[in-house]
Structures are given as C-alpha cells and as structure tokens.
Amino acid sequence: MKVLVAVKRVADANVRVRVKADGTGVELDNVKMSMNPFCEIALEEAVRLKEAGKATEVIAVSIGPAKAEDTLRTALAMGADRAILIQADGRVEPLAVAKLLKAVTEKEGVDLVLLGKQAIDDDSNQTGQMLAALLGRGQATFASKLDIADGVATVTREVDGGLQTIALPLPAVVTSDLRMNEPRFASLPNIMKARSKPLAKTQAADYGVDVAPRQTVLKVEEPAGRKGGAMVGSVAELVEKLKTEARVI
C-alpha cells in the first residue's frame, strides 16, 4: 500500500500573528514557520502504517514556495521515504491544491492519502474533502483512529455529537484530527539521514493545473478587540456582579 501525505508550511502554532498595517495580509517576515500540526499528525500516522508493515512507501508532498523544502525535509526526517515539492508562489487555494494532489495520487498509484483536517493559517478545512471528490473516492474527515485491513479503512471520526465510525474501501482519503496520535520529534541522526533522501522538485505548471485563485482578498483586518482585565476579589463579589452588573444569571 502506497501512502501519500500532504504537508503544508505555515506560521508556527505558537506565533501570535499580526495583521499588516496596510491591511493587505498578515506579517510573516521573520516569523517562525513550521509544518502544520495536523499535517504532522497525518504524517505520523503514515509512518506508523509503514512501521506496522501495512504501508510499503510513504511519500510526502508539499505545495508552496521553494522554502517548503524545509517542511519536506522535516517529513523525511520523521520517516517519509521520499518527497515531492510542487512549487507555487503566492496564494494557492484548496481547490487548486486538491487538483495538484489528484494528479500526484494518480501518477504515483497511491492507495491512501492522508492530510490534516485543516491548516492553521487559512483555517479552510477543505482540501481533503475536495481531493476525495475529484478522485471520485470516499472520504473520512476528522479522524481520531484509523485501521487498515483487507483493503478497507475503518475510521473513527470526531463529530459534533461524539464519535462516528465509518468504513471505506481503498483508495480513500483520510484527514487527521488532533487525537489521532502524538507525532514524534525527528531525531538528529534522522535529520542527517533525511538530507540524502530523494526530494523531487517540480512546478505547479508541470501538472497542467490552473492554480489562479478564484477569490480575491480585499482586506485583512484585526478582529474587534475586547476590553477585559477586570478582577474580582471573591466568589461573593463575582456572583453579585454577574447578577446586578452583567445581569447574565
């Protein structure tokens, strides 16, 4: 079973991102960039499938600027066998990403595509579902558990009411939620080894996919602020204020 994992380079989860003064976007200069945490989880799951003898090969793919090579090296250090960089600068929307991933999936003969459920920069939560649609295959989003046996993926999903388990024949697309696993840290020897693993550099145009955005960002602004910071000294004062000042109880 060949597994493809899509990984995205994003501003690190611990960075408090600031809106640019001119309202054209957010400030990403000198901001620490990392692999999207949900992509890390997806990759970890793929590497575990390989370690369990269920996956024969784990391919990591990233669509983004030349710098996304760093993200792919991290993926290789975590255990991916090889990597593909699809270079595309500027804003690449989930639909275009899904089209590129479809091309790679078909070219490589992939049986299982693992992605994160959302990227923590644009918070779109679309790519996996779109990829499954374009491939004409089943989808299991927000997965907290994945079992593969006899060509069928059995997936437990985190849904609003609790958990739902579904079964999908492979090939299929699965997107990871937070509790699927705890991703490993790449060890220093593995980081060294990753440098010599194969990494193919391609361009979006090589796949014949139109990546021109359908949406125009007109403005980016700060959210409405809230003025908090008031303190109370006791439970009695809190209850009194909730009743007479805030009038919410």
Binding site: V17, D123, Q126, Q129, G138, L168, V220, M231, V232
Partner: protein, 309 residues
Amino acid sequence: MTTLLIAEHDNEVLNAQTAHALTAARALGQPVHILVAGAGCAAVADAAARLEGVERVLLADDASLAAQLAEPVSALIVGLAERYDAVVAAATTTGKNLLPRVAALLDVMQVSDIVTVVSPSTFKRPVYAGNAIETVETSDTIRVLTVRTTAFDAAGAGEAAPIDTVPAAADPGLSRHVSDEVARSERPELAAARIVVSGGRALGSKEKFDALMLPLADKLGAAIGASRAAVDAGYAPNDWQVGQTGKVVAPDLYIACGISGAIQHLAGMKDAKVIVAINSDPNAPIFALADYGLVGDIFTLVPELTEAL
C-alpha cells in the same frame, strides 16, 4: 436565482444552528430553499418549513442518506445544483465534511466559516485562529459557503413553506456507516447554550473534572466545554472541545476554570458576551480577556461558586 441551505439535523430534530445559517443565507438577497437529506426525517422538514423566509423545503428521505455521509449527500446536492447559485451550510462537522466535496464537484472554491455577508459575493471570515479577519470576494458563479453560526442571529418562525419530495441520487457506495458513539445528555447543546462552563488541564483527572464542573453546570443549566488539554488527557469527551479546531461558542456567559487562555482556545470563545476566568496564575493570558477574573485555586473556588449560586 435561489440559495440552497442544507439543514443540520439528526433525522429527528432540526438543529438550532440551521436557523442561524438561514439568516446568513437570506443575507444573499434571494429566495432560500432548505434541503433536508436523511432517512425518516419528515419531522425535520416540517420544522424547516416553519422557519421565517423559507420559500420551499426539499425533502430527500432515503435509507442511503441515513448517516448523512458526504458521498451520497454531495451527489444529491450536485444533482440539484443547476437550480441554485449558492449552497450554504452551518460550519458544523457535518457541514464542514460535506460542502467542500460539493464545491469540488462543482469546480468551485468554498468560502469557509463566514462571519459577515458584505455583498452576495463578498464575505468576511476569520483566519489564523481569529487573529485576523479576511474580506474575500469570490469570482465563482456558484457560491459555496459554510457559516459560523455564532455570528448570525437565529431566524424566527414564519408561515409554513411547501415541502417537495426529491429522490436521493444513486448511492456511490464509497463509504459505509459502522457505528456512532453519541452521548445523550439533558444539558443544553454546547454550540447553542446560553451559559457555558469550561474546564482545563488544571482539573487533573476525569473524576475531578466531573466533581467540579458537573455541579456548577447543573446549577446554572449550562453546557460544559473543555480545553484541548483537558480533552487530550481524557477528562472530557472530544465534542466538548472549544477552540480554533473544536467548537466555536458565543454564550451570554462563559466561565473558564483552570484554562490558561492559549490563542487556539480563545478563538472558540472570545465572542462570549461575558467571560469569567478562575485561575491560580494572576498572569494567565485568559485574564486579559475576562470581564471578571478571579485569582485562586479552582478546587476551593469552583465548589464555593456552585454553592453561592
């Protein structure tokens, strides 16, 4: 043209979030039809028909739609789509699972999680865990939108709209429902509750989470939320997680107990009307947002609060 709103439901009850999403759908300025896709869900269609400003309800009642799996429901919507130029759903896990599949089948880019309808093709949406609000204009002729329901008031009741039955599409058979693990509770639903009490890592165990948070929730008639750390540690179930990657809530009152206030958590609750934080660390970031901060040990203060209410 017309807007198609996808109803959120469990085959028995129309979820309250549909009425909020309807307000966003109506803001597009054209007639709205509601699609109820499920099995044995006629009562849901009746409820949807009584929402204000709904022109028509489409009822697709078929065994293949019972679990509302994305593949058969998206096939159904795509079959109907030529009559519509906007497809809208609440940004619930069902809506988020379904709508991007519909969008891709229509070769359209979805606009996720809209919080404002600026014009029929321009929307505001939060990005970066709500640290920035983007205004995006779409050039797609069919708009596919998911709605952050806390940003829109619920539509009221109206005159009953007609209900048309529509057939399900051929089941693509790409996935199969196996089982659900859904906890039934008498408490209000987290996404719709007027009061939410939320517990964090500081609770220390499931036993202590239950011992502190449940009586407080009972006293206030509140829903219970949790931080990711509390869910990861098994103190609370996954569907209680509030935040960027969990549920977004905007109750009248949110009481955060032993939660530090990481950006990812704040993303899910900072639009609450009144925020109370109880935390032993006076420098916890949650206090910067709280209307009423109380410094101290939750293990004494929370039971004291429950007692005082």
